[in-house]
């Protein structure tokens, strides 16, 4: 590896990390502001223009506060858990391509932390790792409410991860038919969503040539299941049983304060953003979109893919906020019913159905 290659790697990792941090800080503010609007309030408007620096102020406050350690905690796990929450959260986003590749000299720069060929698998692994943080935090706090929160997190994560994985499988299988062989790499999945559906059904060509080649159109059921599952994975309302304030104080982070709490908080919002980014990548075509190369100056059409990516991601982030403002928290049995009796059978059924359709399109009827 030459120094130039090394520099490019460092550059793209720093860029991805910086983007994620800045957007997460903005997201906290954005959520509070939108939630306020949905409740006829004003929301934060003191720190900076429109209160945009509110999160920075909150972060500074938490940074200078004492991290209290209760007497009955299991110290090692208690200190480790916040890091276990933050690290997988950041690693997930490292897989997401957030802009079109471009050239610096003879070096190609991909706007992505790392382009693993097992990208999706890595994401699933990391989102499972994030559950350990919650469970360990709940258990090591040595207090009943965090423990209940931790136990709930275990059950919830197992139930909804299955549905999430199954809906991903449907997408991966569909993607395999869109190009040369199967792939789990996110950048490849994005590349295969370029263009429009124009050439698929010749009769509908005049209409379909304006429909982008996103996976959401053939895989709409998988998208719905995936969205519900990621809301549950990130422990957001209406699936926030893990930290249900009204029942179990703060759930797993009841005993955490200061910077340790801030890390859990950060991890939650990083997860919202990166899960939305993954949904946008898998179903909404990632950074694909018209770049108008011949009309616009070069640097604008180089930036446009990132803009498209952010627009799509924020559409889903907005759905997160909108649903949080709308729906009341599910009861525990309702959560399990939805997970095991609706989403998993639904995802399995959809997987079988789309398998049949794919096989039919590739091989024709078995008896013909």
């Amino acid at each position: 590896m030459t120094w130039a290659e090394f520099g490019v790697v460092v550059l793209r990792v720093v860029l991805t990390f910086g983007l994620l941090m800045v957007l997460t800080i903005l997201n906290v503010w954005l959520e509070r502001k939108l939630l306020a609007d949905m409740q006829s309030r004003i929301g934060p408007n003191r720190a900076g223009p429109f209160g945009i620096l509110q999160t920075v102020a909150d972060g500074l406050k938490l940074f200078f506060k004492e991290s209290i350690t209760p007497r009955k905690v299991e110290l090692g796990m208690y200190v480790l858990a916040p890091f276990l929450a933050v690290i997988p959260a950041f690693l997930i986003f490292m897989m997401v391509p957030w802009g079109a590749p471009f050239m610096i000299g003879d070096q190609e720069v991909i706007l992505q932390g790392a382009d693993l060929n097992i990208g999706l698998l890595f994401i699933l692994a990391m989102s499972s790792m994030a559950v350990y943080a919650v469970v360990l935090a709940g258990w090591s706090s040595g207090s009943k409410y965090p423990l209940i929160g931790g136990v709930r997190a275990t059950a919830q994560a197992i139930s909804y991860e299955a549905a999430m994985g199954l809906s991903m499988v449907a997408v991966v299988m569909f993607t395999a038919t869109q190009g040369d062989g199967g792939t789990l790499s996110l950048s490849e999945i994005v590349n295969r969503q370029a263009g429009t559906w124009g050439d698929v059904i010749p009769v509908l060509q005049p209409v379909l040539q304006f429909v982008p080649r996103w996976n959401i159109f053939p895989q709409i059921v998988a998208f719905v299941i995936f969205f519900v599952a990621i809301v549950a994975e990130t422990n957001r309302a209406p699936f926030d049983l893990v930290e249900a304030e009204q029942e179990i104080v703060g759930g797993f982070h009841t005993e955490y304060s200061g910077m340790r709490f801030a890390m859990f908080f950060l991890a939650e919002y990083v997860n919202i953003f990166s899960m939305s980014a993954i949904a946008a990548t898998l179903f909404l075509g990632g950074w694909n979109g018209p770049t108008f190369d011949d009309v616009l100056p070069g640097f604008i059409s180089a930036l446009l893919p990132t803009v498209y990516f952010l627009l799509k991601t924020y559409a889903i982030v907005f759905l997160f906020f909108w649903i949080r403002a709308t729906l009341p928290r599910l009861r525990y049995d309702q959560l399990m019913t939805l997970g095991w009796k609706r989403l998993i059978p639904g995802a399995l059924g959809w997987l079988v159905l789309s398998t049949f359709v794919i096989a039919f399109r590739q091989f024709g009827l078995p008896w013909s």
Partner: protein, 219 residues
Amino acid sequence: MGLFNELWKGLKVTGGTMLRTIAGSELVTTEYPKETRQKPQRFHGRHVLNRYPDGMEKCIGCELCAGACPADCIHVRGANNDPENPTSPGERYGYIYEINMLRCIFCGLCVEACPTEAITMTHLFEMSTTNRQDAIYTREELLMDRSGNVPHMFPDEKLGDLDELESADGWMRATAPSGMAAYEGVKMWRDTAGSRSWDPEPPQEEADRASRPGEENNG
């Protein structure tokens, strides 16, 4: 898909509220110290001791307010009037009159108990102090001067809107028996020093009809 219909119904409510709030038509919050809201007419605010238009004090030192007070925050002692130079038109007047605003629950029972309408309530509620001593309002702070001006503890502070001391006293009018059919539209109280003069509230049915469209303003 019933589930999605229900979901969409809920999302429409929050989404619609969001759009209307951003447009400004449904924003409920006011940025309080910067902008204040119109208070209801019968708002229970700071007390004031009234005088008659000729400058005599209305308080006769009977201590009925102190007896009625559920929080025991009123301390009154009466004294005999000087026959040559009386303070109040009666036999006695209140020479000590203290209200502990930290204890007061602003229920208005003192106003109801007062036989001479000497104590009434204003619309002022910004009464925070930095020590407990300042929260005990004495006779000097409660009593209006001969021209009907009510003293203010901190007249220079931004929050002290002196007009609110003027806008007594819907509450007293409400306790006057104009709710009874026989007394509708009849003025049941005596005038107070200063330019203020209150008209009787309109008859109940009319008042109800008039207040209905404006209900959300007082809510």
